[in-house]
Symmetry: C2
Subunit: 163 residues, 2 copies
């Protein structure tokens, strides 16, 4: 195994589509067979690329102010800011339906804009993803302790574009 750092290349496998209140992860044709059996799960982790921040100044961000904690800042590895050296984002989504033929994975919500490139999906496995006793930083005090049933979406003021 080479241990020399070398660039890693990913190719999008689909796109987030937001239209008329419905949210779809649209998988490109060559990758649709990989959806087989995803419909037997309730949740999926969608890996997407924060393309809006794909500029050197955002990828150099290492410590950021926390919008939800006054006068607090954290390293980007200690929070979920979309600015970071590699703009890989992972959002748990509740699955509404999976259509392997059309490549449409309907989800209740996602915190990604219309048009966002998707690079991977992984079924949500409690054994790997659900931590019973998770200690969180004081800056998350008062936050819900569970993923919300309705899913996670864009923050207020971030508009949806039609399409």
């Amino acid at each position: 195994m080479s241990e020399q750092p070398r660039p890693i290349q990913m190719n999008p496998i689909g796109t987030v589509r937001r239209a008329n209140g419905s949210i779809t992860v649209q998988i490109d044709a060559p990758y649709r067979p990989a959806l087989k059996a995803l419909d037997t799960f309730s949740h999926v982790i969608v890996f997407w690329w924060a393309v809006l921040y794909d500029e050197p100044q955002y990828r150099q961000a290492l410590v950021v102010p926390l919008p939800y904690a006054e006068n607090r800042e954290a390293g980007v590895f200690a929070c979920r800011a979309p600015v970071r050296p590699n703009l890989i984002m992972a959002t748990v989504c509740a699955i509404e339906s999976v259509d392997e033929a059309s490549g449409e994975v309907r989800v209740t919500n996602i915190d990604a804009f219309d048009g966002t490139p998707v690079v991977d999906l992984k079924a949500y496995y409690p054994v790997t993803d659900r931590v019973q006793n998770a200690h969180i930083s004081g800056y998350l005090e008062g936050w819900p302790e569970w993923f919300p049933t309705e899913g996670l979406g864009l923050m207020e003021g971030e508009g949806e574009s039609g399409s």
Copy 2:
């Protein structure tokens, strides 16, 4: 926002180190400030690249047999196989210690070999990552319903290399 698929480039920010029974995510010097406040969390999601499978035949795998379910196969988006179009892996790890100065993040375990490139860390947030009512596929029947306290490691027979 461009919606044309174009390659996405990531650069490693660190490396998994397994030696003498201890497991460290070693963060490269330029990225160490991004660890600020990570020590206030109990768990971190380590994003790594499955470099052993970075060959065209593995990145073309779309449907795979499931090692833990006889005569069952699933799409790679419906399981956690390390073969997939983009070899991005995400492992929840229990944090033992964080040393921002040396870039050492000690974890109890990880299912990645010594030398594996790491591309991101994200603090584990229950509000985004912990799903209370997750329905799982029948092929996971009988699996633990929670992330194990000791963490997730390599499967038996996958040796650790010293260093």
